[in-house]
Symmetry: C2
Subunit: 279 residues, 2 copies
């Protein structure tokens, strides 16, 4: 008998992956968590029946959520990751030699545990001595983290349920306060095609706080419409022009998606969307 | 009762659209043809159970398959479309004031009929006096079309069944012979993520015939992985540098996807794929 895992990407759009097997499933304190092995995209982490990442295309997500903001900051030494308990973002952050400290604030410690067991290629960096893994609610944590960060990566689940608070102005006000002089924040911000309203809302919030706001994209097959956005706020640096080509060049040989041409290209947005968000 | 239309995008990956209704279905001489109305993406043309286009995102496909090659040619007056019986490509070609004649060679006249009835926003250009609609097999036609074209757009179905011949070296040899001095061909060439082998094969064939070969992309939610490629062969003009920014600027106000930034960006390819095709 054939077995498939289906995600309802919107109420009216469904994607289904032929299943080799379900490796693990549990109800954590916060969500339904499953690890499935699919034929098309390998292993996937599934939270509340939504695909968080697949082994096949996670690089297209993690390289872009991390390197674009990291290369914009002139000297990122302290980096915060909110969510991202799988470790994929941390792995990419650690490629930057300037980094001295990474704080990962993941609400659900079960995600970290499962990543260590089922996704070693993502989670290996979590054991690096530069990394502190903190299992707590980022909304509470950001009210008084007791330190300043250069770059914050909001690597959250979709804006439903427990993640909703990560998309509010008051949360971003806290993030802004905990960022240094040249501070930069980047958040995953859903699909241009199915959630343009959401991205526009993010941009408007960022505009109240940051001198520079920009949206850029990556192509990620397992996410709705395959065309994913990241919204970026920056205190001083202009995301389109101020990033370091030299440091990007150093990273390129180790990466599978990111390159300097794609960095520039990621900020080019379709006309229908560019007019809508008006940043 | 809920009704869904599902496409098997690969043997192991399925996308499903919640259905408002099936407007039309027939078995033509060549294929199974259906017009369905979906909640997420509006009306769709479905051939052999594969989505050809949706009203929602066809602009992202047609604008990119047409304007990138058209703006590369210094003065496109005669244009050939192979397939594309829906008229979407013809509509975009007619936006170029230099165009004097468009030949549409579509094997299945039922596609043209259905487009005129169910997709007036795509098919309107088919009645333009500059356009000749020819319902015949392009493989035969290209052996001796009796005229020379500036630009050829291969707007075919996927490389299965009747379309297979449109992806062979002998077909492209015919296309090359029927192109003028600065001739350019562009073909839709599937997803970077699921069919990199196919795109590489196209590039190798083009390299035997054309001085310049390039792959560029567009983001189209209804196609597998949402990330679609076009393979381009050009006799004299370099696709990355020789296109007309001035003519592009004239077109921009009328377009929803294409703009000059996206034109440049479309040629930026992820590292994993760039290394694979090596063009």
């Amino acid at each position: 008998m054939e077995s498939w895992f289906s995600e309802l990407q919107t109420e009216r759009l469904r994607i289904s992956f032929k299943l080799r097997e379900t490796l693990y499933r549990t109800r954590t304190q916060f969500q339904d968590l499953a690890v499935v092995d699919t034929y098309e995209f390998g292993r996937m982490l599934v939270l509340d029946e939504m695909v968080m990442f697949s082994e096949f295309d996670e690089f297209a997500y993690h390289e872009m959520i991390v390197h674009v903001p990291m290369l914009l900051h002139p000297n990122p030494t302290r980096v915060l990751v909110v969510g991202g308990g799988d470790g994929g973002s941390v792995r990419e952050i650690l490629r930057h030699p300037s980094v001295e400290r990474v704080v990962l604030c993941e609400i659900d410690e079960e995600v970290v545990k499962v990543a260590r067991e089922y996704f070693p290629r993502l989670s290996a960096g979590l054991d690096d001595p530069k990394v502190e893994v903190m299992c707590r609610d980022a909304i509470e944590y950001m009210k008084d983290p007791g330190e300043i960060f250069d770059v914050a990566i909001i690597d959250s689940t979709d804006p439903v349920g427990p993640s909703l608070g990560l998309f509010t102005l008051s949360f971003y006000r806290d993030v802004h306060r905990c960022l240094g002089l040249d501070g930069i924040v980047t958040a995953q911000s859903e699909s241009l095609y199915t959630r343009p309203d959401h991205i526009r809302g993010m941009c408007l919030k960022y505009k109240e706080l940051f001198d520079h706001v920009a949206v850029y994209c990556s192509n990620i097959p397992t996410y709705p419409t395959g065309y994913w956005s990241f919204t970026m706020g920056s205190k001083t640096m202009d995301p389109r022009t101020d990033w370091s080509e030299e440091r990007a060049k150093q990273l390129e040989p180790d990466l599978r998606y990111y390159n300097r041409d794609l960095h520039r290209a990621a900020f080019a947005l379709p006309t229908f969307f560019r007019e809508w968000i008006d940043v």
